[in-house]
Amino acid sequence: MPLTIKKNRTGPGLKDAVEKMCGAAMALCFQCKKCSSGCPMAKLAKSRPSEIMRQLHLGAGNELLASDLVWTCASCETCSARCPMGIDVAAVIDALRKLAIERGAPKPAGNVPLFNRAFLRTVEMFGRSYEIGMVAAYKFGTGKWMDDTEKFPTMLKKGKLALLPPRGADRKTVARIFKQSKQNQGPCA
């Protein structure tokens, strides 16, 4: 992937914001590319972890938030585990995801942010995740109703999906946690 920074940069560089959010010591990166060698998504996404690190160093701005790796990353943490300098690269990606949402970056393929919202919404409501509710909310948002539907009857029959929402969770504590998390994030979250 070409590293064009200065000409296309939108807004101030993201490096300081990312460092502040995740505390990763990004200055230690010397581009050994071990993170990219082990990244299971390196073959599938257009950008790689070492390239994201370099782009941040070179002063990339909001345009970096549209990199497909930001949302294709499955959080397997191979990059962080293998970094010889101990940089938590996976935490850098988490920080970029948060910035992408806060700054309204374009929706990625598969709309992972919508999936995460649908998942967490059920946790907020029931105290535990509720798969059918989450799947319905996600499919409603993406409009792709038919994906995977052929599997549901078998899964239901095998008891792999719970029909009713979970019960018995301490919903009050969970509600307080969500409330505080929203307050921390300010009005745009």
Partner: protein
Amino acid sequence: MRYAYFPGCSAESTARDMHQSTLAVARALGIDLVEPKGWTCCGATAGHQTDHFLAVSLPAANMAKVQDLKLDMVVNCAACFNRMKVANHEIAAQPDLRKRVGEALERDYDGSVKVRHFLEVLLDDVGLKAISRALKHPLNGLKVACYYGCLLVRPPKVMKFDDPENPTSLDRLVKAMGGQSLDWPCKVECCGGGLSLSRTDVVVQLSNSILDMASRAGADCIAVSCPLCQVNLDLRQQDIHKQTGRNYHIPIVYITQLLGLCLGLRPDALGFRKLMVPASTVLERVAAN
């Protein structure tokens, strides 16, 4: 042996088989598991991809409940296990975070509850010798590819679970059960985890390469200890078949299901019917002894 047992949300849906077999095996081995009342979701991948505070507080709420029970916390879902340990690590190291989490929980939690994976209990507390003695039907040379995935072993400095690049916990257990644990290179590769619904294309490709390697190694089945790995490798074999024409038919079983069989428990009590790819070859092999 008495522990607080955190089942995790998937124990009530996609991983009922994991939950069922964990409880059955624990009962058979004299391990007493107590569910903390009112346990809640750990936030999983969606939590830490969304907000750091959420990702730490949701697990902390559960560990605070366990602290009252004065027991170690045992988790069998690799994802919950991971979130609990990471939350403990961060709360213990960051007083400011501990304070903010405490405000949301309306109580202080210091990050000190000992969190252990059920595999660690089996290997370290029960011990392989005791397990070998309790076996009724050994695996009879069944070829098992042990798959650990990401969340049990990474990040290594926090998880401190086995060797992060070449773990052997599952392999040692399989050998003790009379199975043949295979030497294969995908033990800690990623299956795509929580991207199962949002990026099915990615999960299908990653799962395909793991299944391909297990098949080349001659696996009769793949043993797992994570509900995300189990669902991806099991459920997505249909999609792989449709997209590539390759039909692996490799059963993806929880290690607790295999152990339960060896301890002489009925397959129904271990949730074998819930597997999408039937484990009939495994069941026949073990029953044949």
